[in-house]
Symmetry: C2
Subunit: 340 residues, 2 copies
C-alpha cells in the first residue's frame, strides 16, 4: 500500500486585496505524527470564508496574518484517525482550525468541538451549524437585539450568514428584507429563505426598490458588505436602529481606507448604534446556539445551501470565487469521503 | 411707568449651514398673558447651543425645525412672575424651553424643573447643572461605559459638555486626553479641567501628538466634532472601544452628506461600538444626574466656565460665534438681573 501523503495548501505570496489562486500552492509533505496529548485528524471538508481575505492580509486585523509558506488557516471537519489524548477516540468527528490540508496533528485545544451524530451531514458543522450559523446567532441576538415587528435588512442576504440571519429574524416576528446580487439569488431569498422582500443591488432600480421595501424605516441592518449598499440603507434607519457590522464584502481594499459618506449625523440624530462583533469572542455561547439551531435545521425551518467544490486543487481559487459571487450558499471543499 | 414689552429673537430665514446674525431679527411684541394652567416666566439667561444649528435646519433631525418668523427655540432660566398653575409660585426660578425672548407664557409641561437655591448662580442651570452637564453624564455613563484605567479621548475638550465629560471620566479613574483648538484652551484643559494630556488639533504636529498621547490605544472616544479629528482618533481604538456620538461641530454642512474614511473595518476588527444619543431621551435620569453633579460643582471638583454675553441684541450672532470658537465655556445671554 502506498504511504499516504499530506497535501497542503500554503500561502506563497501576500495579496493586496482578495487572494487569488496564484497566491497559493499545493505541496505534499509527510503525514504528521501526533505527539503526546495530540490527535491526528483526517480532514473531510475544508471551509472557505470571506474572512480569509483578512487572515492573509498584513493589515491590522483580529488575528496574526497567515505566514508566507505556512498552511492556509481554515476551519475543517474530519475524523480522528489516531489519538494520543484520552478525550478523543478514533472515528469521532471533530471540527476546528485544522487548515487547508489532508491531515492535521493538533492539540486538544485546537479542536472546537466534537460533532455529534445528529442525522445531518457533517458538512453542516462548518456552515449553518458551524461558524456561519453561530455568527448569525450571536450577531442577531447579542448585537442586533430583534423585537417582533422590527424591519430587518440583511446584505449578502443569500449567503451562508445572511440567509441564516434573515430566517432567524423572521422566526422572531420581524419583517425581513434581503439585499442580494442577481435574479437567481433574489428568487432564493424569497422562496427558500423566506424574506418578505428581496432586492437586487445590481439593478438600476435599487435605491427606489429599497425605499419601497421599507416604508416604515429600518430598525436593524445586518451589514455584511459596507460600501454603496450600506450607504443606501443608512438613509432609512429609524430612531434607535442597530447596525450590526459582520463583514465588508463589497470593499476589496482597506489600505488606504476608502472614502464614503460620513455616518456620524445619521447615527446621532437617530440615536442609533453601529457595532462590530467577532464570533470567536462568543465561544461560551456556541452550545446554547447549537441547541437552538440544530432542531430548526433538522425540521427544515432553517434552510441552508452548500456549494461543494471537489478536491483540494480547488482551494487556491476558492476565496476569489467567493468574492466573484460564483456560488450559492456556504462554500466548502470536499477532500475525502464523508464516512471512513 | 412704561408698559413692558417682550423682545423676541425670531428666525427670519433658514441658513444652509451655521446660522448667522442675518438669519435672525429682534422684534418687540406685547408681554403675553398666561392662560389657565399656565405660568409667565421672565427669562434671565438664554442658552446658546451648538445643537441650535440642527434646530433651524430643514434637514431631518430629532425635532421639528423652528418655523420661519417663529421665536428661536432655546433653553432659558428665569423667574415666575405670574402663575395660574398651583404647582408654581411667583418668584420661583424655573428652566425649560422658553425661547429667545424676555417673557414666555408656558404650560407646566414646558417647565423642565424648578431650580433650587443651591448656593450656585442660576446660570449653572443652563450649563454644568443643565443640558451640558446632563449630556455629559448620560453620554458618559449610559453610552461610553467608563472603567478605571480606560483611556478616554474627548473632542471639543474645553467646551461645556467636553470639559464635564473629561472631569467625570477622570473621577472614574480613567486617563483623559482632551482635543481642543488653540494654546489658550490647551492650558485650560490641562490646568482647570485636569486632563492628563491636551492636544491642539490646529497644530501641524496634531497626528503625532495624538499617537504619543495614547500609546495604549483608546477605549472611549467622546466625539463632539466628527470630521478630521474623529478620523485621526478612530485609527487608535482598542478592541471593545466605545465611540459616543454627541455632536458634529466640525462639519458645517450635512446636505449633501460629506465624505470621509469609511469606519466599518475599524469598528468590525475592533468589535467596537459607535452610538449616538440625545439627552432629551433621558429625562428620567436628570434628578439622579443632578444629585451627583451638584455637590461636585459646589466643592470645586467639577470646574466649569461660562461666557456671558450681555443683552438680547447679542443673540442673533451668538451661534455663529460659538462655531467660530470665539468664547471659552458655556455660552449664555443675560437679559435681566439674576434676582428680582
Amino acid at each position: 500500500m502506498q504511504k499516504p501523503v499530506n497535501r497542503q495548501v500554503i500561502l506563497k505570496s501576500r495579496p493586496s486585496d482578495v487572494p487569488q489562486a496564484e497566491n497559493f500552492a499545493v505541496v505534499e509533505s509527510a503525514v504528521p505524527t501526533p505527539g503526546d496529548g495530540q490527535v491526528l485528524v483526517r480532514n473531510v471538508y475544508l471551509s472557505v470564508e470571506p474572512a480569509m481575505r483578512g487572515w492573509v492580509s498584513a493589515v491590522a486585523n483580529y488575528s496574526e496574518p497567515v505566514a508566507i509558506d505556512g498552511v492556509m488557516r481554515s476551519l475543517a471537519v474530519g475524523h480522528v484517525v489516531e489519538s494520543r489524548h484520552p478525550d478523543f477516540q478514533v472515528g469521532e468527528v471533530v471540527t476546528g482550525m485544522f487548515g487547508w490540508q489532508d491531515y492535521a496533528a493538533v492539540d486538544a485545544t485546537t479542536i472546537q468541538r466534537k460533532v455529534p451524530d445528529n442525522g445531518l451531514p457533517i458538512s453542516t458543522a462548518l456552515g449553518v451549524l458551524g461558524i456561519n450559523g453561530l455568527t448569525a446567532y450571536v450577531g442577531l441576538f447579542d448585537i442586533s437585539l430583534p423585537k417582533a415587528g422590527d424591519t430587518v435588512i440583511v446584505s449578502t442576504a443569500a449567503g451562508a450568514v445572511g440567509s441564516c440571519v434573515g430566517q432567524l429574524a423572521k422566526l422572531q416576528g420581524c419583517r425581513t428584507i434581503g439585499i442580494t446580487g442577481g435574479p437567481e439569488k433574489v428568487v432564493l431569498c424569497r422562496e427558500v429563505f423566506q424574506y418578505d422582500e428581496a432586492i437586487d443591488y445590481r439593478s438600476d432600480d435599487f435605491e427606489s426598490a429599497l425605499s419601497r421595501a421599507c416604508p416604515n424605516g429600518v430598525d436593524i441592518y445586518f451589514d455584511n458588505t459596507s460600501g454603496p449598499v450600506s450607504d443606501a440603507v443608512i438613509r432609512h434607519i429609524n430612531v434607535g436602529a442597530r447596525i450590526t457590522l459582520c463583514g465588508t464584502a463589497s470593499i476589496t481594499r482597506w489600505d488606504p481606507i476608502p472614502q464614503g459618506p460620513r455616518v456620524h449625523r445619521q447615527l446621532l440624530v437617530n440615536r442609533a448604534k453601529m457595532q462590530g462583533f467577532l464570533v470567536f469572542d462568543y465561544v461560551d455561547r456556541y452550545a446554547e446556539a447549537l441547541e437552538m439551531l440544530t432542531p430548526l435545521v433538522r425540521d427544515g425551518a432553517l434552510q441552508y445551501r452548500e456549494a461543494i467544490l471537489e478536491g483540494i486543487g480547488q482551494a487556491p481559487d476558492s476565496i476569489a470565487s467567493l468574492y466573484r459571487g460564483d456560488n450559492l450558499g456556504k462554500c466548502l471543499i470536499r477532500i475525502a469521503p464523508d464516512s471512513i
